[in-house]
């Protein structure tokens, strides 16, 4: 019975997120229809969230194993800065880059992201540092390397071709950033629900001891998870590189907490073992809608956004508390 109920609770969580999104959209429809319901607006939103959406995917994966990844932003910036330098080198006098440049930088970005992720994984699995501190430290370290490399300057002046390619819209309709995000989200979904790896990390997040006694390679699993997180973060960095046509050590510093907030709001259990990608995507959509919608009201300070974010998070948790509690009482 319990799993069913468990499922119900998760679904209730999703249900709440959906209700909030719908209610908000209805409200916006009544008050600011023209300013919100237009193609450009949806395209803008779809192009904006992938950069931190990707990072949230990484945080989510690590949280399922019972950890956390606070280094995603540092990772993204370090990757994008290194790739920016590479792009500068590849840009010729006419401001063009060879056709293979974009696939190449993406490939290298994935490699760099993976390396940085592996470093985190080693700290967590082999050095046994609590993930929250290991990734806090490595995030600081990555940012530090960025600062040391760039002296805090933005790295830019590479061919505009890169930015225009990523900032483009497929068929003039779908932002390329969204496509990258969708591919990665599908990939993560597939990994979590359709592969052996997915089952294993849920189990690992539930009980590391039992995982060891069941013969799982816990260290390798952790390293792989942080590696994945590193890759998605690096891709987030590549999107930032395109969106801002430059890379800098302190881009997106607010994203760290934002990602944790999104993931928790999406119903991922910070203790590990539980969480679905659909919840995380709903959380991203909800927060993006709220923020964009709120920007349609010039008189409302944008500062209320953080108030609403925090409020939504706490309220959803309290609602869960009531349903959960009922369940526990019933189980008695």
């Amino acid at each position: 019975m319990n799993k069913k109920r468990n499922k119900l609770v998760v679904d209730r969580h999703m249900f709440r997120l959906i209700v909030m999104i719908v209610a908000w959209m209805i409200f916006i429809a009544f008050t600011r229809f023209r300013k919100f319901y237009n193609l450009v607006n949806f395209q803008t939103m779809a192009a904006q969230f992938p950069e931190f959406g990707l990072m949230s995917l990484g945080v989510m994966l690590t949280m399922i194993t019972g950890g956390i990844d606070l280094s995603v932003v540092g990772n993204a910036n370090l990757t994008s800065i290194l790739m920016a330098y590479l792009l500068i080198n590849m840009t010729d006098v006419a401001g063009a880059i060879p056709p293979y440049a974009i696939p190449l930088v993406f490939f290298l970005a994935i490699l760099i992201g993976a390396t940085l992720g592996i470093f985190n994984g080693l700290l967590v699995s082999k050095a046994h540092i609590p993930p929250i501190l290991a990734t806090l430290g490595s995030g600081e370290l990555y940012t530090g390397i960025c600062m040391a490399l760039t002296k805090g300057n933005a790295v830019s002046k590479f061919s505009r071709t890169y930015a225009t390619t990523i900032n483009n819209r497929l068929f003039g309709l779908i932002p390329v950033q969204l496509i990258i995000f969708t591919i990665m989200a599908l990939l993560v979904w597939f990994l979590l629900s359709r592969t052996v790896f997915g089952t294993k990390i849920y189990m690992l997040g539930t009980s590391a001891t039992a995982a060891k006694f069941s013969g799982l390679k816990t260290d390798t699993l952790l390293i792989k998870t942080y590696l994945l997180s590193g890759i998605v973060a690096a891709l987030g960095g590549m999107i930032m590189l395109a969106n801002y046509n430059s890379a800098r050590a302190d881009y997106g510093t607010v994203y760290t907490l934002q990602c944790v907030l999104i993931v928790v709001l999406g119903g991922v259990n910070p203790v590990g073992g539980k969480g679905k990608i659909s919840g995380v995507i709903l959380a991203i959509v909800l927060l993006r809608m709220l923020e964009t919608g709120l920007n349609r009201f010039p008189k409302i300070s944008s500062y209320y956004i953080s108030l609403i974010w925090g409020g939504v998070l706490i309220l959803v948790m309290v609602l869960n508390f009531f349903t959960e509690n009922k369940r526990v009482r019933r189980k008695g």
Binding site: Y304, L307, F321
Partner: protein, 343 residues
């Protein structure tokens, strides 16, 4: 004696102390300025605010939680206090501001405490949410902006010095702010509280096992609730001290310092899972972070390398203590075994 030595080496504090000493000597070698009286005073005064914050963060971690909201909490309460006083053209001393700030701190701490103790929600999530709420309230509802002018009483108190240290060579002077006394008082208070009151032992007990604490008769919900109120009060005092020392109130300057504070606390040997840790270790860890953050130019490292340094410090520091815990666990179990065999 031997036993004592063993006890000492099995703890974290001596190692942190050695690392601290090494860093100080490095700075001294590089700059010749570290052990000058005025630099030491500077470090002591730089320690006040992070030190206070660390006391609060330490108590929360010992109780088995983790609080990331204290900078936002402190910002909201000092901002509200300063603004309120400015609006009423307050001319008096520093006592009233502190009382008001403590009041706000208690209120906001109670907000955290309500969700954490009564609803039993995970502390990380609650404080993540509440820090967002506090920030929103401050910036949205209070329409915060930098307050470059603060009430006279606060300004004067912030400038007041216990004594002034002078560097005999360069002639530079540094003030030891009166606020340092507040820090010392809070430290002694926390020490007394944690060691000599049932409330304080209750915090440790809850961190050790919440169920056992409940059964032993500790009022777990109330203890946690009061704990968060107290942490709110301490954080607010720290915030207001910072305002006085800075001579201005900047609403968002403090945000983001939570992670470094937590890192300092854990660096000092506090178990992130709760129940274990000493105030001494916590202070040593925080001091290490404060010194490194404030001495890069003295060492001659370009400021752009600052994050590399703090990052590496966090990794190495926590790595060492993680290794030690692991190592300790091993020796302990094999030792325990032998004893059992010997029986």
């Amino acid at each position: 004696m031997k036993n004592r030595l063993k006890k000492l080496t099995s703890r974290n504090e001596p190692y942190i102390f050695l690392v601290l000493l090494a860093v100080c000597i490095l700075i001294e070698i590089r700059s010749g300025q570290f052990f000058s009286p005025n630099n030491l005073v500077d470090i002591a005064s730089a320690m006040i605010v992070p030190g206070l914050m660390a006391i609060g963060a330490f108590m929360v971690i010992v109780s088995g939680g983790i609080d990331v909201s204290f900078p936002a909490l402190a910002s909201l309460s000092f901002y509200a206090t300063t603004k309120l006083l400015l609006d009423h053209n307050y001319q008096g001393g520093v006592v009233l501001p502190f009382l008001i700030a403590i009041g706000f701190g208690a209120l906001l701490g109670a907000f955290n405490g309500l969700f954490i103790s009564y609803f039993k929600l995970p502390t990380l999530i609650v404080t993540l949410g509440s820090s967002s709420v506090f920030k929103g309230l401050m910036q949205g509802a209070l329409n915060s902006r930098q307050l470059a002018v603060i009430p006279t009483g606060m300004r004067e108190w912030g400038k007041k010095a216990l004594f002034v240290a002078k560097n005999p060579v360069s002639g530079l002077t540094s003030r030891m702010p009166v606020a340092f006394l507040v820090f010392l008082f809070a430290l002694v208070f926390a020490f007394f509280l944690l060691r000599f009151t049932m409330f304080g032992r209750g915090i440790y007990a809850i961190g050790g096992s919440e169920v056992s604490a409940e059964r032993a008769g500790f009022r777990v919900v109330l203890t946690k609730f009061l704990l968060y109120i107290m942490v709110g009060m301490i954080a607010s005092v720290a915030g207001l001290i910072r305002v006085c020392m800075m001579q201005q109130a900047h609403p968002t300057n403090m945000l983001g310092m939570e992670m470094n504070i937590i890192a300092g606390v854990v660096l000092g040997g506090t178990a992130i899972t709760g129940g274990r840790g000493t105030l001494l270790g916590c202070m040593l860890g925080t001091l290490l972070i404060v010194i490194v953050e404030n001495s890069l130019i003295l060492i001659g490292i370009p400021t752009s390398w600052k994050s590399v340094f703090t990052g590496a410090l966090i990794i190495i520091g926590t790595g060492v203590s993680a290794y030690q815990v692991m190592h300790q666990g091993k020796t302990r179990s094999s030792k325990g075994k032998k004893q059992e065999v010997a029986q």
